[in-house]
């Protein structure tokens, strides 16, 4: 089967330091992959670089066999919750609607159909009752669900999520993972930057272990071993390679 995502020789830097070093991997469709690694390992940067939100120094990224700009509508991105201003005057429904802005096009307003789609997406995350609620009034878990609904409304084929389970309550964590499993069952592909080693085996069928470069990648059962974990997280300290030029 044609991989949904192919990354070859990706290099990227953040400030002065090399954060991604010759990263290469392929992702098969219908998988639910955890991206794990220590802080500063480049996990967020990997997502951002693939999505062209962060400059790449070298390497190739292919979504569904083509460049990102041709596949934008098929890729749903859920950034970290902390990057957003939660005091912004908007409600939950509005936030979800934003996921459709790419589709609605310039100069047009969101229509009834779009609102229905947004409400439906909120419903899938159990948040339809909060549609008109100001986002600053939502709890962390509720905010995360709204973010997820925003990704769902895009009806993408590949979902990239950056630490969706960070700082959420148990009920929300369960709801999110259920949704991700539903997506997988429907043939979608999901990649999640994940922070909790304890739950990797329970939640994900594949794992990508990253520490500036790919330490290991494959089915959780075979690849998520103590040796690989040690190589990813500790044991050796990667020397910070300054980027010049």
């Amino acid at each position: 089967m044609e991989p949904v995502l192919q990354v070859r020789g990706l290099h990227a830097a953040y400030r002065k330091n090399k954060v991604l070093d010759d990263v290469t991997f392929e992702v098969a469709p219908g998988t639910l992959t955890a991206i794990i690694g220590p802080n500063g390992a480049g996990k967020s940067t990997l997502l951002k670089t693939m999505l062209e939100l962060h400059p790449r120094l070298a390497g190739e990224v292919r979504f569904f066999g083509t460049a990102y700009r041709n596949a934008k509508l098929k890729v749903g991105y859920v950034p970290q919750r902390g990057t957003v201003d939660w005091d912004f005057p908007t409600d939950a429904l509005d936030v979800v609607l934003m996921g459709l802005y790419g589709r609605i096009g310039w100069l047009k307003r969101p229509g009834r159909r779009h609102r229905e789609l947004a409400l439906e997406a909120l419903g899938k995350m159990g948040m339809e009752g909060f549609a008109k609620r100001q986002i600053s009034e939502l709890s962390g878990g509720q905010q995360q669900r709204v973010f997820l609904a925003r990704a769902l409304v895009q009806d993408a084929d590949l979902y990239l999520l950056d630490e969706p389970l960070a700082g959420v309550d148990a009920a929300t964590e369960w709801a999110i993972m259920e949704m991700l499993k539903t997506l997988r069952a429907a043939g979608k592909t999901v990649m999640v930057v994940h922070h909790d080693l304890q739950t990797v085996e329970d939640y994900f069928d594949h794992v990508l272990m990253l520490n500036r470069t790919v330490i290991a990648h494959g089915p959780t059962a075979s690849v998520f071993t103590p040796e690989n974990a040690a190589r990813t997280y500790g044991g050796w300290l990667r020397r910070k390679e300054p980027v010049t030029g």
């Binding site: 010759d22 290469t24 098969a28 790919v214 290991a216 990648h217 494959g218 075979s222 010049t244």
Partner: protein
């Protein structure tokens, strides 16, 4: 330089001291990421200056400076209060405080200027600075204050370094964060308040920001950065003040800023640590190295085990 009057010499000396003090304190503000707060504080000082004059009815620099300090500190407090008790963000709070206080200052200034005897206030010189308007006493005040700042910074250099770069560790050592914060704010307000007569409220921040950033292009070491920033600040102060006295009626502030900006440009291009020239040379060297060495190409390694 022929025929520099005694007065002119005094002006230059006090500007040298002011620039030096501003360069030093500017480094602190830079590392605390509060470069624009100094701009807001400078603008906030204006109403205080005017009120200081209005209460007495005649120009008394110490009283006006006290008013300026009180006004600036009130402004600082307002920003924290807005930030703490509403969802308004810090930059917006600073902008509000800056423009509203300044607006109040202009209101009061205009009223005073229209009063009989208001023309002697010399208040207008606080907008853009007027080194020529300073009398001997003012310069003595400025020099004394600048010297005091210099002393404080030198004597507690180690403490400042720790406070700025490793506050958690500093607290662990028993250093009082609040004391340092208060000391920092005091130094900042004092330098601003003393400087606004020469540089003006609108551009005072420039003397605090530009020399510090210029120093960054030459060194990474905090101590050296302080020294260079002081040097650049003092230099900008002297050069700018000198040029502004070449023609009657020229405001001092803008010339000082341009002098500082000139130093900044030179640092940007020629700076030993991060300057453009040095970087260009580094890049050329790298390219040369790359050409000499064949790029090692690894076969697309089967590091991953795909299903």
């Amino acid at each position: 330089m022929t025929g520099l009057t005694h007065n002119a010499l005094w002006v230059l000396v006090s500007m040298l001291m002011l620039g030096t003090a501003a360069g030093l304190v500017g480094c602190f503000a830079y590392w605390k990421r509060q470069s624009l707060m100094s701009d807001a504080l400078a603008h906030a000082a204006l109403p205080g200056v005017v009120i200081g004059f209005a209460i007495l009815g005649f120009k008394s620099l110490p009283v006006m400076l006290l008013g300026a300090a009180a006004s600036a500190l009130l402004g600082a407090w307002a920003v924290t209060a807005i930030r703490a008790h509403s969802r308004v963000k810090e930059d917006t709070a600073m902008g509000i405080m800056l423009s509203v206080f300044f607006g109040l200052g202009i209101m009061l200034l205009t009223m005073v200027n229209r009063m009989p005897g208001g023309g002697q206030s010399g208040l207008d010189s606080f907008i853009f600075g007027q080194a020529a308007a300073m009398v001997r006493q003012d310069m003595r005040t400025m020099a004394a204050v600048a010297a005091a700042v210099l002393l404080v910074v030198l004597v507690s250099f180690k403490e400042w370094k720790l406070y700025l770069f490793d506050p958690a560790f500093a607290r662990g050592l028993g250093m009082s964060g609040r004391l340092m914060e208060a000391a920092y704010l005091t130094l900042l307000v004092v330098v601003i308040v003393v400087g606004i007569q020469a540089v003006g409220v609108i551009l005072m921040a420039a003397l605090l920001i530009i020399p510090a950033v210029s120093a960054r292009y030459w060194t990474n070491a905090f101590g050296r950065m302080l020294a260079l920033s002081a040097l650049f600040g003092g230099g900008a102060g002297v050069i700018g003040a000198f040029v502004s006295t070449l023609e009657g009626g020229w405001p001092t502030g803008p010339f000082i800023v341009i002098a500082a900006a000139g130093i900044f440009l030179l640092s940007l291009v020629f700076g030993a640590r991060k300057g453009l020239l040095v970087k260009a040379m580094q890049r050329r060297e790298q390219m040369r190295q790359l050409e000499l060495r064949a790029v090692r190409k690894e076969p697309l390694a089967e590091r991953e085990a795909l299903p």
